[in-house]
């Protein structure tokens, strides 16, 4: 029997080497599923994030933007930073409140909505609730629970939304987006899960790249094996605040990492949104860094009436927002 001679190399070094080989060419992998054919790592590490239009999507409600950037440190560190980041600290990102939900999503977990600052967008949100406006994205059953009251966010309005958010968060935690009631209180029935599936169906390369992660989540399907980290937000959408729910999933292979961040419910503005992250370890000027691809995709009724240059302008605005968000995130995590 032939004797296999092992190279004089330590086990940890071998693990690292194998890991490097497994992700031997992040740039090739990046170009295989994204719109970025060529990127300059050194330039990305020292400059602004690179953003681009996603592939054209047939459904007029959909919009997609892709970006890539480099941050110092390993993918696992970046994944952890994404997990911990609170965008509400930055007013320009239009996140009014951000609240991580630990444990079972009871109504008490959403009590902070009652303390939202009384800005014009929040007042518009309260007015819309009091009138049970057609623009509110609710199911018929949810809308029927509005019985009026003191018309204050700190009172009846806040109680109503705490009930809606808790119900939706519980449904998602137990059965993914498939368990969510449709938005049908004032017209066409729209399901967040269908929108998320539609966004991914129109971007098959991305769907394939993230299949391993997505198939274990509740995104566009029933509850998966992966445990979501749930959160709620109040966001500013076109001069009216919206109460929203999100879920973050991360997967660290030991070398590369992936994450999926979905807004699976919003009371207005967007039907659903999904941000995907692919992270690879790279060496930039001798410094261990992470190359990050980020894909932002959104479904919104407001987009359905836009064509031509208006759609192009919306994409440009979204690209600016994404670039701004990445810049702020990098600044925060560099501290």
């Amino acid at each position: 029997m032939r004797k296999v001679t092992l190279l004089p190399i330590s086990v940890p070094a071998l693990v690292i080497l194998m890991a490097r080989l497994a992700s031997a060419d992040p740039l090739s992998e990046l170009s295989s599923f994204s719109v970025f054919d060529k990127v300059d790592l050194a330039q990305l590490a020292s400059g602004e994030p690179k953003t681009a239009h996603g592939p054209p999507l047939n459904n007029p409600r959909y919009l997609s933007v892709q970006s890539c950037y480099v941050v110092p440190g390993a993918p696992a560190q970046h994944l952890e930073a994404l997990r911990r980041w609170n965008p509400a600290a930055h007013r320009e990102l239009k996140v009014i409140l951000h609240n991580d939900i630990a444990g079972s999503p009871s109504e008490a977990a959403f009590v902070r909505i009652k303390n939202a600052p009384e800005t014009p967008p929040v007042r518009a949100f309260v007015e819309a609730t009091v009138k049970m406006a057609n623009d509110l994205q609710l199911s018929r059953d949810e809308a029927a629970k509005w019985k009026g009251g003191d018309n204050k966010l700190s009172g009846a309005v806040g109680d109503f939304w705490m009930g809606v958010l808790a119900g939706r968060a519980r449904a998602f935690a137990s059965g993914g987006t498939s368990a969510l009631a449709p938005y049908d209180h004032a017209g066409n029935s729209i399901r967040a899960g269908d929108e998320l599936n539609g966004l991914l169906r129109e971007q098959p390369k991305i769907r394939k790249q993230f299949a391993g992660l997505l198939d274990s989540t509740g995104i566009g399907r029933g509850g998966g094996s992966a445990r979501p980290e749930l959160y709620s937000e109040m966001i500013n959408t076109d001069d009216i605040a919206a109460a929203a729910l999100g879920a973050f999933y991360g997967r660290n292979s030991g070398v590369t990492a992936q994450a999926a961040d979905t807004l699976y419910y919003s009371s207005g503005g967007v039907y659903a949104a999904l941000t995907l992250y692919q992270m690879w370890p790279v060496d930039v000027n001798g410094r261990a860094s992470t190359l990050v691809w980020r894909g932002d995709m959104v479904s919104s009724a407001a987009l359905s009436g836009l064509r031509g240059v208006e759609k192009l302008a919306s994409e440009s605005a979204m690209m600016k927002d994404v670039a701004k968000s990445i810049t702020v995130f990098r600044r925060d995590t560099a501290r």
Binding site: S304, V309, L312, A313, S316, A317
Partner: protein
């Protein structure tokens, strides 16, 4: 059958056909049909006066906006006809017509800058005649800087070799300065808009129009002024008014507007012969437009 009814029928057929023909999201585009009527007015050149004539302005525009890797193509056709109620002896043409292709591209050159290049090659003449070769190709090049979703700044130039000043600057700003309020001050149609609801917008504003047309080879001779044969006529007018835009659905919006026309000239500038406004009149406009 009066010409205007022919145009209306063509428009109605177009309106019925569009949703069926272009239900696919690949064939996106936009269309508009505008009809404006201006009441009796007078223009003069020295002692020469053309009195009590009315005006009908019909515009039909149909543009496909397919997405390509470089941006958004703009391919279509535009037709415009000014019909004036002049007396036979007037030294002005009763009809000015243009039919032109629309060939353009909207593209993004930076995260925040959109660029439009659009040419409109076609025939710009007095009433169309057999073998008319009054070809012209005005074009525009403009950029929009997207400061944020509420504020955009536009700047550009319009080029028309038949114009007295072939290159003219343009632009303006679009600024949503309050919820529901938009200052859409971009030439040639600056407006202050109030969004009553997601489907209804009220506005006050202006429309600055200027197009160059060639009159016929014998127009001058026929009217006792031979130097006007095959001359370039620049027709300019300004409308100021208030209007309402009602978005019924994505592919159909109705726009009604009324106001006053404070300025109008007919300028054969190369022959140094111009009719300026003496008195003007109110106008009414109805428009159907949408995207598909």
């Amino acid at each position: 059958m009066p010409a205007i009814f022919g145009r209306w029928i063509a428009f109605v057929i177009c309106l019925v056909a569009i949703p069926g023909l272009f239900a696919s999201d690949i064939w996106t585009g936009e269309y508009s049909f505008n009809e404006t009527y201006v009441g009796n007015a007078t223009v003069s050149h020295g002692q020469k006066r053309v009195v009590d004539f009315d005006e009908s302005d019909t515009e039909i525009r149909f543009v496909l906006t397919p997405r390509i890797p470089l941006g958004v193509l703009r391919l279509g056709v535009e037709y415009e006809q000014f019909s004036f109620g002049f007396e036979g002896s007037a030294l002005l043409p009763n009809t000015l017509q243009s039919v032109a292709a629309v060939i353009g591209l909207d593209t993004q050159i930076k995260n925040s800058i959109l660029l439009r290049v659009e040419a409109m090659p076609g025939v710009y003449s007095e009433a169309f005649r057999t073998g008319s070769n009054d070809f012209n190709m005005p074009f525009v090049i403009g950029g929009t800087y997207i400061v944020n979703p509420d504020l955009q700044i536009a700047i550009g130039i319009g080029v028309d070799i038949d114009r007295k000043y072939p290159v003219l600057p343009g632009g303006g700003i679009r600024w949503k300065f309050q919820p529901h309020w938009v200052l859409n001050a971009i030439l040639p149609q600056p407006r202050l808009e109030y969004e009553v609801s997601k489907t209804v917008t009220l506005y006050v504003g202006a429309n600055l129009k200027e197009t160059n047309f060639r009159v016929s080879d014998t127009f001058g001779t026929d009217h006792g002024k031979p130097q006007l044969n095959h001359a370039v006529l620049t027709y300019s007018e300004v409308r100021t008014g208030t209007g309402l835009d009602w978005k019924i659905n994505n592919w159909l919006s109705v726009n009604a507007e009324a106001g006053y026309q404070p300025y109008r000239t007919f300028d054969f500038y190369r022959a140094n012969f111009e009719f300026d406004q003496d008195s003007s009149a109110p106008y009414g406009m109805i428009s159907f437009h949408g995207v598909f």
